[in-house]
Amino acid sequence: MPKPLSILVWTLVSLTGAGSLAFMALQRGEQVSAAWLITAAVCTYLVAYRFYSRIIAANVFALDAMRKTPAERLNDGRDYVPTNRWIVFGHHFAAIAGPGPLVGPTLAAQFGFLPGAIWIIVGVALGGAVQDFVILCSSVRRNGKSLGQMAKEEIGPVAGFTALIAVLGIMIVLIAVLALVVVNALGESPWGVVTVGLTIPIALIMGGYMRWIRPHRVLEATAIGLVLLVVALYVGRGVSESATLAPMFTLSRASLAIWIMVYGFAASVLPVWLLLAPRDYLSAFVKIGVVVALAAGVLIVLPPLQMPAVTQFIDGTGPVFAGKLFPFCFITIACGAISGFHSLISSGTTPKLLEREPDARFIGYGGMLTESLVAILALIAACVLTPGEYFAINSPAGIIGTTPESAAEVIRNWGFVLDPEAFRQLTSNIGEERLLSRTGGAPSLAVGMAHLFSNVLGGPTALALWYHFAIMFEALFILTTLDAGTRVGRFMLQDLLKHAWAPLGKVSWYPGVIITSALFVLMWGYFLYQGVIDPLGGINTLWPLFGIANQLLAAVALCLGTTIIIKMGKAKYAFLTLLPLSWLVTVTMTAGYQKIFSPDPKLGFLARANLYDSTLAAGNLPAGIPSAEVAQRFIFNDRVDAAVAAFFMVSVIIILADSAKEWWKVVSGRMAPVSTEHPFEPRTAEAGD
């Protein structure tokens, strides 16, 4: 493009983006179309990609198309394979996108759509995409080393070990909270239980097909799996309409939690080809399909956002989760704005596939921008509901009661309208007995998506099918994260415990596999179960804990990124990672401190434990608690949660202090900046040209 034209185009894109954002922010009392939000997001992404990511690509790493990538140098036909950048992009996106960017924005909608939207858009441009891109480049320049290895080598062994333990801790909380989302979506829902339950035998059939009938025909097996998923959807409906079968599959949340733990254990000890791999293939397809469908649905319908731009709950009194806008909006939305977990992927499979160095910009920075767009779409889908419906679905029964009438009364006092009859109608239209207090975000997102999809295809009668379709794929994503995560967690545990007792480290020793798998399942199962029995719904407690953990990992990744940039002798560009790092440290520290020490028992773990303690001592039972024994268990759980939050905070401080020491050594001139990159090797004619 000629220069003046280019300047004109980019000025227009910038102005359109800024204008849309300003329009949304200034519009008061009237509904805003989703089109404004999408325009603001896409324009910001384009500008950020064109200008901000260029600084990292050109000035920091000086990505060079003539420099050999690890895929080229170490090509082994297995891990290291030079791959077309569009394919790597698809692979990377399928790995980073999961339930996180769908659930987080839905929960954060309790503050209104604007705070979440701004954080997603600004956070990704200056934080999440920077993190993914910088870690990807660092790993590409170091033969595809993992985050843990790089932290150990660049910062020091203490930071490396802390990072390892932190990853394990995060996986425990992550799996627990995701399992809780599934439990809340499927509890007392025979249709959901049957449909999602059938995905397990479907995976087994696919596994058997690829093993014995048509060996290694992955795509054939996946096609069969996709057809069977649709069958499962209809079987679920049949069961829910049958007077004899429906009660058999109406499971309580507590028993569902046990079943999910059994499933996680099975996935960890069974051969991968049987359950894990087929589910994963199926999930990857459904994931990309759903993202495309969601985008199409939102773009075709361009729904008005029913939720106000900002609600009164920014003061911390919200029913979905406790805590003020700052810091909890930035904890609740991790994936979509910045997600520490991505740093494991950017230093996992992806760096070993890059064919040319400059592709890292499109895959690392661009891939994260795409996930951010998914988060914006999820936010829109959640805001398609009226505020009354949204709060009726997402508030725990401890706050709004157990009937639509009691909920309507509470919600009226918040200044929103809920028509109990209309809500009953909605509940029966989506084919459920209960929609009230289905916390966790997945059900309200599914209702929003069902609205969008039935608008495009099928009309109001298709609402129930679309709702259960949405629940099915959300559960499919989550269970795929859960089973693969449990297996990885088992390996990490084996690796740690072998220092205590060597045989536990052997992956071929079956008793060791069983013991460590059971141990890891019990670890996340403990948090899951305490969430299930919590009268405030559990999401309240666990989601912030997960957010803190995930942002902690992002802080680790950004510490590493800063260290690498400074050691390259490019300290003047360290602001790129220091900016999001300082924000994240502020946010996680404030949130962690409030979760532990806040005097408000709704927010602070210790305050609630002390309240229960004193209520029991006075001879009474705390509200919503059936017995003194249960109250004792809550007191213990709350103290465990406080300890976990404290552990995450201490980890951040250790890694930050360790990194700052390294930075100071270089900046003060006591240590020469020495890059640990693999030396430059030019691409030659023999290398494929």
């Binding site: 791999a277 494991l344 990885v488 390996f491 494929g688 040209d689």
Partner: protein
Amino acid sequence: MSSARGPGTPGPGTVHGQGAPLDAGHFGLADQVRRIAKVVRTIIGAPDYDRYLQHARECHPGQPVMSREEFAKNRLEARYSQPGNRCC
């Protein structure tokens, strides 16, 4: 969204979505389907034995290669044993 790319054609064992070997006249429908299938398999992370075999033949001639079964087992075990494959 284009970035600077080096000149030339892909090296041995390279995965390309479009326009892999252009010399053999691979333009038929069956070839197109096969090519798309290969792309999709790579995206969902399925083991690609043919690619491995091609690499082994070109770069390590005369050395033993894994059978299709061994290769699949090896790939799946590697995929599900470390973080870096899946996110939230």
